[in-house]
């Protein structure tokens, strides 16, 4: 059974990584792969989004399948499918020695986390994505691990290329081109906070050296949710008379399921990894369908449950009592991806999975730190200086699992304003320095250009008159894509820049009198 399980884990991990790598533009309008499908199957994201936003994405109905499977087979998802669980398994394999046999009550922590998340989502606060294992994994890979991997590989091949070693370079270049076509990203990605988000991820992996599958046993809220569901599952473990209480099963249990305690076996903690069945010298362990509940009762402690519920309630005003909640207090730098919902609705849905950042064709979508408040940490914002919003690209809306970013077609995309460009006349070459430059207008993508010129007569220091074209922004036409800022020759502090004002999604953050 162990081999079968490992094969299943391997297949799902590879599928997950394959889809992750495919979450990248190939130049066509559609991605061609269901990049977000793992999230679609995630019931924690499903339930908290229904609670927080009172809305549901159609694709989310896939997560009902996960729920159904859990109601039949228990927490098999954790043992057979979850890619983060598999990674924990792999790292945990490096820890030698037997697991601690004392009964740790720490396993309850994940239920408190879950209760906190569910309660706060009932009060419209969506924080599940921060600790949901799939969201966490995609975000960590996107923002930190994959850029790190890509950087390392590129550095090695670039070094061989520039050293130009006869024979070696030709070979390394052909290997490099294969890697570029398969596992490497099209361009080296760079993200703010990649160190921070990566450190948290490596901490989670590292905890396996304290105790195998530490995250899954003690912290994972999705595991907790599936654990509760598995109380009702009909696929149970039973131990026959032949058991000699040798304790061999306790040493191989991946969860914290007390398999050696027979009737006190904790079904909520079992991943159905089958290790206890495989290892039992008496062959006394078996799994099968049975109606009877032969398991330990779940005692979380009333006080602790009430405390976590109260924390979930208190977190709402605690996180929202910031100036950002005032409608007139607007963060000019909070440029959201095109198709994003109005900020409050956006935050109710965004699970900070980082899919949009991974897929962003220019690398412009970056994780926020505090720009959207602590509630919005790691949600996406566009930093045009890093990468602008490509006019005919709609990928971020295609991969968003919760509809925080709407899926737009090309006609809709062309009309969505994410901000407006403003010119800094003190730095713009034709204004401040009487030098010709038209780059912002040249790259402006709207069919009728949002940047136009006023011809101005200027003099050089010798008094010689000549004409320069000075750019102006047409506020009706500008969509705030930021390509002007990204390509402005005044590279350190661009002479044209985008701020969030004028964004279509907001009623408050507007500039023009007329609606649009």
């Amino acid at each position: 059974m162990q081999n079968l399980r490992r094969t299943s884990q391997g297949i799902f991990l590879l599928l997950f990584l394959f889809l992750f790598i495919q979450t990248e533009s190939k130049g066509r309008d559609a991605l061609g792969y269901p990049a977000k499908i793992f999230l679609d199957f995630d019931p924690l994201i499903f339930i908290t989004t229904i609670f927080s936003a009172h809305a549901v994405q159609k694709a989310f109905y896939f997560s009902l399948i996960t729920i159904a499977i859990t109601l039949i087979f228990g927490r098999a998802f954790c043992g057979w499918v979850c890619p983060l669980g598999t990674l924990n398994n792999i790292v945990g394999a490096m820890k030698k020695g037997r697991p601690k046999t004392e009964d740790r009550n720490l396993y309850r922590v994940k239920y408190y986390v879950l209760i906190f998340l569910i309660i706060s989502s009932l009060f419209s606060l969506q924080l599940a994505g921060i600790v949901d294992p799939l969201s966490l994994l995609i975000r960590s890979l996107s923002v930190s691990v994959y850029p790190l991997f890509s950087y390392g590989i590129r550095a090695v091949f670039d070094a061989i290329y520039s050293a130009d070693i006869k024979g070696v370079t030709a070979l390394s270049e052909s290997v490099y081109s294969i890697l570029k076509k398969s596992v490497l990203s099209f361009q080296q990605p760079f993200y703010n906070q990649s160190l921070f988000i990566g450190a948290l991820f490596f901490l989670i992996l590292g905890l396996n050296l304290v105790e195998k599958r530490f995250w899954c046993k003690y912290l994972c809220p999705l595991g907790a949710l599936l654990g509760i569901l598995s109380r009702f599952s009909i696929f149970k473990r039973s131990v026959s008379e032949g058991c000699t209480s040798c304790g061999a099963c306790a040493n191989v249990c991946q969860g914290n399921a007390s398999p050696d305690k027979k009737e006190e076996w904790r079904d909520t903690e079992c991943y159905y990894c089958w290790n206890c069945d495989d290892v039992c010298p008496q062959n006394a362990v078996s799994f099968g369908f049975s109606g009877k509940k032969a398991a330990a009762s779940m005692d979380l402690g009333r006080r602790r449950v009430i405390t976590s519920m109260a924390s979930g309630v208190i977190a709402v005003p605690l996180l929202r009592a910031t100036p950002l909640s005032k409608s007139e207090f607007i963060n000019q730098r909070l440029i959201r991806p095109p198709g994003s919902l109005e900020e409050k609705e956006f935050l109710k849905r965004c699970v900070k999975c980082g899919e949009c950042m991974k897929v962003c064709i220019t690398n412009g979508l970056q994780p926020t730190l505090l720009e959207a408040g602590l509630e919005g940490i790691w949600s996406p914002l566009l930093i045009p200086k890093i990468g602008y919003c490509e006019f005919r690209c709609t990928l971020c809306g295609q991969v968003c699992p919760t509809g925080a970013i709407k899926k737009l077609n090309l006609e809709e995309k062309a009309k969505v304003k994410i901000g407006l460009a403003m010119i800094d006349k003190g730095r713009c070459l034709p204004y401040a320095h009487a030098r010709p430059c038209i780059v912002c207008e040249e790259v402006c993508p709207t069919p009728k250009k949002a940047i136009w010129f006023e011809k101005a007569k200027v003099k050089d220091r010798n008094g010689k008159e000549f004409i320069v074209q000075q750019p102006r922004v047409d506020l009706e036409l500008c969509i705030g894509c930021g390509i002007c800022e990204a390509k402005c020759p005044v590279v350190d502090k661009p002479a044209i820049y985008v701020t969030s004002i004028g964004e279509s999604r907001s009623k408050e953050n507007r500039l023009l009198m007329e609606g649009y």
Binding site: S25, K26, G27, Y161, I361, E390, F391, L429, P436, P489
Partner: protein, 303 residues
Amino acid sequence: MHCMNRRKFVKSAAITIAGLSVPNFIDSLVSDLGASERIDLAVARGASPAKITRAAVDAMGGMKKFVSRGDIVVVKPNMAWDRTPEQAGNTNPEVVAEVVKMCFEAGAKKVKVFDRTVNDPRRCYVQSGISDAVKALGADISYVDERKFKEMNVKGEAMKTWPLYTELFEADKVINIPIAKHHSLATLTMSMKNWMGVMGGSRRQIHQRLDESLVDLSGFIKPTLTILDAVRILTANGPQGGNLADVKKLDTVIAGVDQVAVDSLGATLFGMKGSDLGYVKMADKRGLGTMDIAKLKIKKVNI
């Protein structure tokens, strides 16, 4: 031009030669002395982009005259923008494909196609239709590799040195296939401005001295052949367009060896003259080519 007699032609050709310093041009002239007629520019018109491209090259003496067996050829279209063929922001994919096909027919060993794009390269290559069109013919279409730009001594008036794409200079032959478009600073962008696509570094800075820079660059890169795509031209909101109302269908292709002459004749498609374009005037003055189309032998083909 049609009624030009032989004597007049020889006279005008002599004037043209006097103003030329492009070795390629002289080479082709010398090798052509035996031929009955020397053509400076060919203009082909017709409904099929592929057919008129072939007709224009044939009128110039056929691709075999420019590409030899075993050559590595760089074909440089303009595919700088995330635009579709109808929007006329990039060179027409059928024109590019036909040129690639003719290069292979002439015995080219390898045909390379690339451009340093302005929008995302993946989208530009695919949305322009060029990637699919030339891949099917066996051309090597590749994204620009930043490591392959090398600082080169352009020795121009505005541009002393600049990082340029080495693959262009390593090729045996270079064929430039621009599209004719409006541009707010250059007025029009055609063949000479298409060389911006092989510039590395911060090329946005050359707009401060655009005309000089384009002439410097065009003098440094000497294409074997230039084929100007005017199947559709972009008359406003260039160089990327996006509004179909700005696109004019002309079903025309112009071929020539002299890039200044090609651009000068190209200007007439927009109701302008070569002398309306600063870089054409400057290039003519520097002896890079001929601006005065009255001095050129132009062959017109209609299919």
